[in-house]
Symmetry: C2
Subunit: 349 residues, 2 copies
DNA sequence: TTGTATGCGTTATCAG
DNA sequence: CTGATAACGCATACAA
């Protein structure tokens, strides 16, 4: 394989000159540039990235960290979509992606330490945010460039992150349900260790309280995924003396699970119960009924994360930033005006 | 940051000795090993991966190539699941993953060339297989280690690949439908440029012909995704003089789209029409009705791909291999015995 | 069993 | 504008 020296020899210049041609250094005459370039393709020369990285102390690669791959939620389409966004942002600046996953939390932590200490990446994007995360603390202590997709559990003003305003989105979506005449609104969320779940729950609560509705603990359900356990959860929700007429579900995939259980229980959506959820995956459009959902713009989340980590890498003095990606309520057919008993109550009032 | 020299100095040995300790070279006395190790953690030393790569001519990283990220199919859960498998296989052997994506086909091709020529990876896993693929030819010509997930379009016996027997799976699943009494069976597939689509179509055809049923062109529909266009496709299928009573759908996500259109058209699954599909995503279980589908074991597909590319990297004389991952027909509720007019025909016969 | 010297392919510093 | 030369951090052949 041709090296810089071979090119130098063929073009009858010094290796350093070739290096400068690669960098398109303006202090090289056009004539020699020409000559060197000719030699380069004559030899099919491509610079060795590893050698360059060593000399440069920069890899042009950004590390991507995802939570444990054993997690069922891993099959969530959030992942490919955010990667797609990251790729876009990274590609523009000629950065590549580097991943080191593991099964256990400890394994992934070790993997990240390896990539940081081993200098395999210039910066890191953490694709989740959870309570008391060891990794975040490590990165912060090391003062290694990183950004979080989501809201940091702590040190928010000291960690660059890109997030949606999940609190407001949840509030808004709940208010949407309220404006539709619903009063019995339940919340079906995911793992409370993730900050996003907390935010959405809080937004839901705020809307409920603002509207003067009762905030009931038995209307709050948390499930990793709507399989066995979740089945029970939904069943319980609808065996309450006062079952909900509407559901705020934390994620489209979960909403799909809810839809399934409901169908099995002969409960119709949206005529018997309305559902709104989050994320707007491709599948939320092809669900039946198509889901009314909050489009959180996952692609942009990824793209911005990439742009900002690169900014931080290339300009270390860059201040900490909080990037809020806009969301949009996409009205489809899973939520509609409440037309049950509660309405009658309305008329009586 | 501490280097090997600092450790050497502190432990009062030569740098080369430290290097040998890292490699756990048996020719170093336990006593000095001890001393060096102590120095290592005293300094918080971690080897520099880049430097090591340069000296070694090996990066311990494997490149992962996915098809154009603009593709809608990118949101397909196949992706995270196969990555999960790859991670598993790679992690065991201490390999990391490297990705370089692009929007256009040309961009991703260039990205791969960069990672190959730039020596950023030791081998490559190509996560798709399509007709006349430029990339495959390049890798083959370069004689660079790579494996394909799927069946190579050509040079099958000269390219290591891991695949399902999609032909047989499709045949079997079609026969399942036939055994259920269906005679009007349509095929809803994806892009015919992908070998997997071709294989599944062929298996379907074989089963149809074996059973002495008519192979009808108007029963074959191809859609990227069941959005606008697909809506039409399904509609047309069911406006035929003799509409199908069962559908073989090439992918669960598409099946979900079909389910949606059918619901909208008031066609019931499985009472009016049966559906079987492929992949067994998480969502196929939570669809309504839960999908009868072929579990192609995506995780194992990824895991085996990783294992074999690593084998090929570490043992270049390793022969070309064809790895067939088993599939399994998962019977759920989207397909059942045919009980319509065709049955009456049976009785008449 | 350990140390010395050299190379991996670039970039950067300093002369000229 | 261009050429030597020294890093970058580690591995390894050869010596001892």
């Amino acid at each position: 394989m041709a090296t810089i020296k071979d090119v130098a020899k063929l073009a009858k210049v010094a290796p350093s000159t070739v290096s400068r041609v690669i960098a398109n250094n303006p202090r090289i005459s056009d004539k020699t540039k020409e000559r060197v370039r000719k030699a380069m393709d004559e030899l099919g020369y491509h610079p060795n990235f590893i050698a360059r990285s060593l000399a440069n102390q920069s890899t042009q690669a950004i590390g991507v960290v995802i939570h444990s791959s054993t997690d069922k939620a891993f099959q969530n389409p959030f992942f490919p979509e955010v990667i797609r966004g990251i790729s876009k942002g990274a590609h523009q600046k000629h950065y590549a992606l580097h991943m080191s996953t593991g099964e256990t939390e400890e394994e992934i932590y070790e993997g990240v330490v390896q990539m940081v200490e081993g200098k395999r990446v210039d910066g890191i994007i953490v694709l989740y945010s959870k309570v008391d995360d060891k990794l975040t603390s490590y990165l912060k202590d090391k003062n290694f460039p990183f950004v979080i997709v989501g809201k940091p559990f702590k040190d928010m003003e000291r960690i660059t992150h890109v997030d949606n305003d999940n609190y407001r989105a949840a509030k808004e979506v709940t208010e949407h349900l309220i404006s539709l005449g619903h009063k019995e609104i339940a919340f079906v969320g995911g793992n409370l260790n993730f900050v996003v779940t907390i935010d959405r729950l809080l937004g839901y609560e705020k809307a409920i309280r603002n509207a003067g509705l009762e905030y009931r603990d038995d209307y709050i359900v948390h499930e990793e995924f709507l399989e066995e356990g979740g089945q029970e959860a939904v069943k319980e929700l609808f065996s309450l003396k006062l079952p909900p007429t509407a559901l705020v579900v934390a994620d489209d995939l979960m909403a799909l699970g809810v839809l399934n259980k409901l169908s099995a229980m002969k409960i119709q959506v949206p005529s018997d119960v309305s559902i709104v959820s989050f994320n707007n995956f491709l599948l939320s459009e092809i669900a039946f009924p198509p889901l009314t959902t909050v489009d959180i713009n996952i692609y942009m989340l990824g793209c911005e994360a990439a742009r900002h980590i690169i900014q931080q890498i290339e300009e270390p003095s860059e201040p900490v930033k909080r990037v809020i990606v806009p969301y949009e309520l996409v009205i489809r057919q899973s939520a509609k005006k409440h037309a049950g008993p509660a309405r009658i109550l309305d008329l009586e009032a």
